[in-house]
Symmetry: C2
Subunit: 333 residues, 2 copies
């Protein structure tokens, strides 16, 4: 591979001048520019981004950390980030944690290695104190709802609490009053999904609906989990049964509906089912799912813009108004 030296030699100039050309410095005569261009062309020269980064101490690689790429939520997020990043001349290094804290740490360590100049964490496993301790090595943006305040870390938040509140109210307005609830966490304040729990609780409270502990289902993620919930629900006494369930995820919702079908429980006539995420398959289901859609596209775009601004030391204000979740009404509720 040709180096800057070869180009300089062939053009009869110094490497300095060639370097200047590469970086669009002023003060190069057009004549030399021409020569350099020709030499580069002839040698099929491409600057080594490695050397550039090492010397100039500014990288062009952005890390993106997700739980699993096969989860469409993350796939769409990464898709949006990739488009925006490419457009601004940045590359993406993708890592998956699969929910593992240590993997997350390993990725954060790449900031020290200078492999990446910034990291977008689309999900977070460790506590934010730990994450923040890496902020001195590079830019970090985290997508999560939290009360944690920090000026080294930028947070890019969607309002899960509000979305859940809205969703439950949507059900209430539709006349449902017995609203069961499924969560991926354990329904405590520290668990995953705690902000959604708050939204659920707040909506019930405002409508003077008493919480029924037996209608709370914890640690559910998969279609199978959903089917199990449906079984449990079906075992309840007719009058002890909720008339709706907020499933917390589209997978779980699909599982519930599928099992209900086998049990001859009609959706939404007997029990309405509401999902969360608006997965691609949700509109394709046998009973198209009423669900909550997340703004993956704008979330990804803004995350990319944010991290780039942090890397480059410019300002970027997140536009919260673009980051709203919205209820997507179809047939299951």
């Amino acid at each position: 591979m040709a180096t800057i030296k070869d180009v300089a030699h062939k053009a009869g100039l110094s490497v300095t001048t060639v370097s200047r050309y590469l970086n669009n410095h002023p003060y190069i005569s057009d004549e030399k520019k021409e020569k350099i261009r020709d030499a580069m062309e002839e040698l099929d020269y491409v600057p080594s981004s490695l050397a550039t980064q090492l010397r100039s101490n500014r990288g062009t690689m952005i890390g993106v950390l997700v739980s699993r790429l096969t989860n469409p939520y993350f796939a769409y997020l990464v898709d949006a980030i990739e488009k925006k990043a490419k457009q601004q001349g940045y590359r993406l290094l993708i890592m998956q944690t699969y929910g593992d804290k240590q993997e997350e740490i390993n990725t954060l360590e790449m900031l020290k290695e200078k492999t990446i100049s910034g990291l977008i964490m689309c999900a977070v496993e460790n506590d934010l104190e730990t994450v923040e301790s890496y902020a001195k090595y590079g830019a970090i943006a985290v997508s999560t709802q939290t009360d944690y305040k920090s000026d080294r870390l930028r947070l890019i938040t969607t309002n899960q609490e509000q979305a859940t509140y809205d969703a439950i109210n949507f059900l209430i307005r539709k006349g449902y009053t017995g609203i069961a609830y499924s969560t991926g966490g354990d329904f405590t304040d520290q668990s995953h999904g705690s902000y959604r729990n708050k939204g659920y609780l707040r909506a019930l409270e405002e409508s003077d609906i008493k919480l029924n502990e037996r209608w709370i289902f914890k640690n559910n993620h998969t279609i199978e989990d959903g089917m199990e919930i449906a079984v449990q629900l079906s075992r309840l006494n007719e009058k002890d049964r909720p008339d709706a369930i907020f499933a917390g995820s589209d997978e779980v919702a699909i599982g519930i509906i599928r099992k209900f079908e086998q049990l001859n429980i009609r959706v939404p006539a007997d029990i309405a089912v509401m999902g969360f995420d608006n997965q691609p398959f949700s509109s394709l289901a046998k009973i198209p799912l009423t669900t909550v859609g997340q703004p993956m596209e704008t979330l990804g775009q803004q995350a990319a813009s944010l991290i780039i601004s942090m890397i480059e030391g410019t300002e970027f204000a997140i536009d919260e108004s673009q980051l709203k979740l919205k209820i997507i009404e179809r047939e299951s509720a």
Copy 2:
């Protein structure tokens, strides 16, 4: 950030020794090892991967090129590649082409930049001659079925021709004889999907079924395309109608089925529908899809192992037996 120099200084040793330690060279006394370890610990030292790569001329980054990450086929592929790569100490740089030839070239150029030491092309837009011309700059593995022979380029092939042949025979054995066919390409030999076309044609021929041009649908990709196909099929005279259609993609299949439902055409009773890909939603559909499953997991693993072996100059033999597509029978056919 601490450098190797700082570590050497603090440990009272030369950078060479520290470098040796970093690279697990023999000939270092345990005593010094200890010192180095301590110094690194204290300084929170992490080697700059940039400098290492520049100097040693061996990188640790693998490029992965896909059409769109939001296509589950690619998401699952990348997922598998990521796992395998991580396990071997490599990182993934992801690029999307969105079907654009120039984007593919841009990605190939990264081989020259030394940004990546190898590239896995999960799909290919340009002709293989062009791709091959980049092979001198780094390892390239391409996943595509082709007759193109090359020793600079490694191909990792699934047998689309055979899978389609098998699928059509599956339909034939089920008693269907009028088998329509939809393709993403234009049904010519050069287009996307030409190997599938061959499989279709071969199966028909072997069963002495004459090709009916009016049952060939070209350039279809989306659910909407599928719905349009269904409309056209419904307009055919009852006796001119096929009794099955091989849709070429699950999306198209879903579209066809959905429209058929509106038109009161029963699936599979009136017309059987077969998809391709086994997308995650395919089993979830109203009428669970009979389709062809691709071995994304092993394909991804083998692609990763292959490119790593190429980068490291070792041998790796692709295990074709693991790369078989298989028919997944559900209800639509």
